[in-house]
Symmetry: C2
Subunit: 290 residues, 2 copies
């Protein structure tokens, strides 16, 4: 079977890169580094790809993520939602006979417009690997948190929230930055933040990080937990239907923050191993794109 032929799968984002050597649908070798596309000049991608083959095997290669954007190697189209792994496979952009980039996914539904590039492989792969049901609500936390509704194993619609970026911005400068240096922990302050964030009034809630400290109601040691809970709570409450199950694709630490907020706001959370989902998704695209 052609699907059994080994290939290199590259998850190439803005800041990080992961290379997997995949044989028979299993990752038999991997390399991680911080050579995200933002660190690489346009004319250097061919040499980078050659170096990946030198280090990981001289094999056909399938790439996903921001490598297919205007800050990457080549700008690849978006497939409109609903989008399945077969739709992605049908629209791969072939760079040469053994190198191709997977398209992103876009949604345009009334006034809601959104895009993803890279996350689609993991989200769809989770269903392909039976890590989540074919009809499910998935959440992939991060700098730009993706929420996707799967129907029949395809991405029916999705929303991106810049939750992680907001926390990073607020921590870097401005009124409350000095308060946000502590470690984020799931505890009373985090859950207070989730409750505050669920009021869906972030411009005012964020100021409360400062005012609660001035009035002696919040210790600066707890402020990062409170603010993180607030931002995650605001993100979750906007997308959680009461009692819904949310499948969270993330490492246990960041995923744990989302799971705690989801449970606090009346949902049920299931943590899903995201790397296995990526490997399953890209293996399926590889099989279908022959």
């Amino acid at each position: 079977l052609s699907a059994a032929r080994p290939f290199l799968a590259v998850d190439w984002g803005t800041t990080n890169r992961r290379v997997y050597r995949i044989e028979d649908g299993r990752a038999v070798h991997q390399q991680r580094d911080e050579r995200g596309v933002a660190t690489i000049s346009a004319q250097d991608f061919e040499a980078e790809v050659a170096a990946i083959r030198t280090a990981n095997g001289d094999l056909p290669m399938l790439l996903a993520g921001m490598v297919g954007s205007d800050i990457g190697w080549r700008k690849v189209r978006y497939v409109d939602a609903p989008a399945s792994l077969a739709d992605l496979a049908n629209a791969v952009e072939r760079i040469d006979s053994r190198t191709a980039i997977i398209p992103g996914v876009s949604v345009l539904d009334g006034s809601h417009a959104d895009v993803m590039r890279g996350e689609e492989v993991q989200l769809l792969g989770a269903a392909a690997a039976r890590l989540v049901p074919e009809d499910a609500l998935l959440c992939q936390p991060g700098t730009h948190c993706k929420w996707a509704r799967l129907r029949n194993g395809a991405i029916a619609s999705f929303t991106t929230a810049m939750t992680g970026e907001l926390f990073a911005l607020l921590s870097s400068k401005g009124l409350i930055a000095k308060q946000l240096t502590g470690e984020v922990l799931v505890g009373a302050s985090f859950l207070d933040g989730v409750a505050e964030g669920s009021r869906r009034d972030l411009p005012a809630s964020l100021f409360s990080v400062r005012s609660r400290a001035l009035l002696g109601l919040l210790d600066d040691r707890d402020a990062a937990s409170y603010a993180s809970g607030m931002l995650i709570g605001a993100d979750v409450v906007a997308r959680l239907e009461h009692g819904a199950i949310v499948h969270v694709l993330a490492d246990p630490k960041l995923g744990g923050f989302y799971c705690a907020a989801i449970e606090a706001l009346g949902g049920s959370a299931r943590l899903v191993e995201s790397e296995a989902a990526f490997v399953a998704g890209i293996s399926k695209v590889w099989e279908l794109a022959k």
Copy 2:
């Protein structure tokens, strides 16, 4: 009458300072500069105050704003809401026989905790000068936008929203910063932003600045107007009861943005001349604090 005796009123914020020489309740002279408290070391305040008297008249002085905070000259208490001009006058902090600082105002109502320092003079002064009714909803836009509910001419409760600071942070770095360099204008993009912001889902709405541009739905020239409308819309919708009249204390440009958002979201906006409100408020405190 002692109230007729001339005095110097100083509105001394974090980044700006305004000095008024007030005679018979009227500002007969003023000085503006950017010597906010953030630019002045703790030990230099006495010399700064002496310099103000040299430049503006050797008179008694009443100070308001962040000069009374832990980043100012001396940390002065907060008066709990509800707070009137008489309450402020009763709690002025006397530095010496002819120099005093007006306290801030705090509110603690269930989980809602908030503080202001300086804005109280202008908000209460607007009612004292009959620029607004004694029972009214006031909005003072800015880096940290203050919304106050007046009852019987006193501040009954209030909320701070860091709307202006969020716009500044998002413009300074991160995913959408490069898009936010255009001028903010009240037009179709601004009003699209107000509608998006009124969905009360800022983490996702902010990402739409990027995704709408990628999908050709938003020109980068219009992105600052769209994002500004979104942030102001999110601020307004959280505090506007349908059909309510909001009295906006601001210059016509910034005030105009808020007025447009308030009207778009079903309220009625009235622009109020904020400097006259400050002069009226501090004159009344001066009269009552004798």
